[in-house]
Symmetry: C2
Subunit: 334 residues, 2 copies
């Protein structure tokens, strides 16, 4: 069972995986990327190669864990958090630890090996979003999970599977990074009686210098203090704390904005590995007024060195205004 | 002039370098590592290849920027912060920005290309520590710098120079990461009336499971909530907020502990790239009671993926107890 341990200075939780128990020689091996549809556990027809599915969208009459699906969700093969057992919070001398209770599942975004969010139909992107929503609503019923997140690691060096997929992670505590967002947003709300994210969206929409895409419901922009070159934020324009409350009329706008951001990135920087994280409000009503769900999209272009680790200061060699202009102006196929 | 911009949600400062102005094609180039003593600007005899030195330890009678030195400090060629001009703090709509005022210098740790902290004499390591101390005391005289840090990026993929060197960085604000340490340490001090770092040191010294090296004045251990495999902390055992107040009798202990940690890492994981950061108290007396200077040493073994970026949760596949045992038991040449 992986263990959660808390750093007493930074109050940052770390997942320690004793069963992975990596020794020095293990780090030298190059990790194999599974890129052959025959051995790919995410391809249609290979359903037996994954743990049994927790959810799928599939043709009426087909059976779970067999062909006939278009989006499929399965537990991760080597989960960082596990849904069974008690959290067993305990003190170890002055330190705090608990069992690594939680959910770690994979969303397989298409039955076909070479279809991803950039190159799929907009209908398929909408289905992936519906799957995120439906699975989150289900997981949220378990009161011991305080927060959940959707994470995507895409491309060489950031994922071992080339078949397009994302992760759903539910945690028994609110992660430090989210606590920090909540604190910043709460403070601004107390001072201004307005949502910080809403104000940023209004300014970006008006200013336009960092804008990448905008329509009636969604906006994509390069943040003013982008930590990374070509970093983007994707968020609904109307105040909305919980992603999983997304409604029918918004799903299409979100699918369009997400696909536009990824298509523009792919055209400008072909084959570029990237991560995205979807941040939604923790499972409580107390953040409703000042938290606003969003996606942070980070192309993996720069290395993070000692200064960034040691200070929390990032160095970005591409001003977000330049990045947004290039992303906006690049010609993409419709 | 690079610009400092503040993320309004996370209150995290980012350095935006418009003059680097990196475009998509710039990221594809592999960066050249300078590994030939003939073209290495840090080798003795090549002093004209760096900006003029700000400090050096050199033989009596030799001239600055010529041969005859054993430790030499020069401004960085492409500094992330610059000492000239005004900070010009300003609001851009709802955002905050200022000029990137500060100090960014390089400490050349030996005149010889292949000498580094692991393989040099202990006397040379002591000289490097004296140079750190003396230069920090000098920089500290300028009241506009609020914090300074020593950073080392060593090895392929983390530095463009193979000649052993480190960075001194002085910033006009206290970096977010240090603010977080101060906050955690302050809270513990208010509750317990004891320094959090002193308590951790006592527990690690007694427990021994995560201990790597200990002598009269210094301790090296793998932190309880290590974020990375084989991460180590090096710190004085007696309470000491300011590194730059290190005294004669402690310099030898620090040199020995630092060299021991790096030698053990090098023997266990030969040629392993690593970063270290030296955290010392900000330039103010108000942290004196609860802050405790230390080095964080991070071997670059794992990749940081979307989940870590998005949550601030780290996943460490090597329990620190296993890491410490291997580091402790590895045979090193004296």
């Amino acid at each position: 069972m992986p263990q959660l341990r808390k750093d007493p200075v930074l109050k940052q939780w770390v997942i320690i995986s004793p069963e992975r128990g990596k020794r020095p020689s293990d780090f030298k091996k190059t990790e194999q990327v599974i890129d052959d549809p025959k051995t790919c556990p995410f391809c249609e027809g290979n359903e037996q190669m994954t743990p049994p599915e927790t959810m799928s969208f599939r043709t009426a009459g087909t059976s779970p864990n067999h062909k006939g699906w278009w989006v499929r969700i399965v537990p991760d093969n080597a989960p960082i958090l596990k849904p069974d057992g008690d959290s067993d919070r305990e003190g170890i001398g002055m330190f705090d630890a608990m069992n690594s209770i939680g959910v770690h599942e994979m969303v397989i975004e298409s039955p076909h090996h070479h279809i991803n969010i950039q190159n799929s139909t907009i209908e398929q992107v909408r289905e992936v979003i519906w799957a995120y929503k439906q699975r989150l609503l289900e997981i949220k019923k378990n009161p011991r999970y305080k927060h959940f997140m959707i994470v995507k690691n895409s491309g060489a060096g950031v994922s071992n599977f080339s078949h397009s997929h994302s992760h759903i992670v539910a945690t028994p505590i609110i992660p430090k990074r989210i606590e920090e967002e909540l604190e910043g947003a709460r403070e601004y709300y107390h001072y201004h009686d307005r949502c910080l994210f809403c104000d940023i969206i209004k300014q970006e929409s008006k200013d336009k210098a960092r804008l990448v895409h905008e329509d009636e419901n969604f906006i994509v922009f390069c943040p003013f203090a982008s930590r990374f070159p070509f970093e983007m934020e994707i968020t609904p324009k109307l105040h909305m704390p919980f992603f999983e409350m997304i409604e029918n009329h918004q799903v299409h706008g979100f699918a369009t904005a997400l696909q536009a951001a990824l298509k523009r990135l792919e055209t400008l920087l072909p084959g570029q590995p990237y991560n995205f994280v979807l941040h939604t409000s923790p499972c409580s009503d107390s953040y409703r007024e000042f938290y606003h769900w969003h996606i942070e999209l980070i192309p993996k272009l720069t290395k993070v060195a000692g200064f960034e680790w040691g200070s929390g200061f990032y160095i970005n060699p591409t001003p977000p205004e330049d990045a947004a202009k290039m992303l906006r102006e690049v010609k993409i196929s419709e």
